[in-house]
């Protein structure tokens, strides 16, 4: 085989590898069907100066709210299919229903519905990066406020 022929063959082979790589990346981007939802229910109050060490990864975010004390009440994680529901029982007779609307490996859209005794408190749709979180807070609880950290990771 001539040198030119060999080079053409190598270029073709390499293009094939690159194409497969790009196809894999594209498929990984589009075909994420399962989302892991993790919530942490936190009591924020000014009744003490206690900071729950389990909340260390969230400390900078929680300190934005100017409460003196933060205590983790509940932590739960659920895997859910796209358009499926993950229901979390939240202290104070509340429940949180999280429904992934769209999921790629990069970004996710979540519909979040918070209710108390069948009475809706909040319904919101939030778009966030996979692995990211946001904070939902405000409902009163045990002399403080309930703060819920909601994170989602596409899998």
């Amino acid at each position: 085989m001539s040198l030119l022929g060999k080079r053409a063959k190598r270029a073709l082979l390499f293009s094939g590898i690159l194409w497969s790589f790009a196809a894999f990346a594209g498929a990984a981007e589009n075909a994420s069907q399962t989302v892991q939802i993790k919530i942490g229910a936190i009591l924020a109050s000014n009744q003490s100066d206690e900071f729950d060490l389990r909340l260390a990864p969230l400390e900078k975010q929680l300190r934005l709210m100017k409460y003196r004390s933060y205590r983790l009440l509940k932590e739960e994680s659920q895997k859910v299919q796209r358009k499926g529901n993950a229901t979390f029982e939240i202290p104070g007779g509340r429940s949180l229903v999280v429904t992934p609307q769209e999921s790629g490996t990069k970004q996710l859209a979540l519909r979040v519905h918070l209710q108390q005794g069948g009475k809706p408190l909040l319904d919101t749709t939030v778009r966030l990066n996979s692995g990211g979180n946001f904070i939902l807070g405000g409902p009163p609880h045990e002399g403080g406020a309930l703060v819920i950290s909601i994170s989602a990771t596409a899998q």
């Binding site: 690159l18 709210m65 009475k119 966030l128 692995g131 946001f134 409902p139 009163p140 002399g143 406020a145």
Partner: protein
């Protein structure tokens, strides 16, 4: 029975001793009785002798001894392992062999562009680099709600305020929920 033309054609091979014994005997017998082929033989032998003389004269002026000594020395010389390794590295990094590094570099570049996070989500710990969440819609069912986006930690906070009429009368919870950010 070979004729003169045939004899002259194989004369060179006969002089070099390359013929079979039967053919060589036939050539010898023919040369003994053929003056013209005998003359051809003499001329060919003279040419061979002239060439050998020229070669021997030239070869004495070439210093073959030192050349062979050098070859022998290099054959017998002990090579250390790092010399072999250096030789291998030198071979690998010469331009023709360096071609393998081009596809590797492109693949690494593409991996960098897609980033590890795309392929292994959640690998990194802590808060992602861009943790901002975009609130696309929000309904607090008549209550006040605030959305805060904080730059330093890239955090989005949705804060639900208790309404003035006392929204949480069912649980009887009253508390300081008016957070100041």
């Amino acid at each position: 029975m070979m004729r003169c033309d045939d004899i002259r054609e194989v004369l060179g091979a006969w002089l070099d001793g390359e013929l079979r014994q039967a053919d060589a005997e036939e050539v010898r017998a023919h040369l003994a009785g053929c003056p013209s082929c005998g003359e051809e033989r003499r001329q060919l032998e003279g040419l061979q002798k002239a060439l050998q003389d020229t070669f021997h004269a030239a070869s004495t002026s070439i210093a073959f001894d030192s050349f062979w000594r050098g070859v022998e020395r290099r054959i017998n010389q002990k090579r250390f392992w790092y010399e072999d390794a250096l030789g291998w590295v030198r071979d690998v990094w010469t331009p023709p062999q360096l071609a393998w590094s081009v596809p590797i570099a492109i693949i690494l570049l593409l991996l960098g562009m897609f980033s590890v996070e795309n392929f292994l989500p959640g690998l990194r710990t802590g808060i992602p680099r861009n943790n901002f969440a975009a609130v696309e819609s929000i309904d607090a069912f008549g209550r006040n709600v605030a959305v805060l986006r904080e730059d330093e930690t890239k955090t989005t906070i949705i804060w639900l305020y208790q309404n003035q009429e006392g929204d949480d009368e069912s649980t009887g919870e009253k508390s300081e929920t008016s957070s100041s950010f």
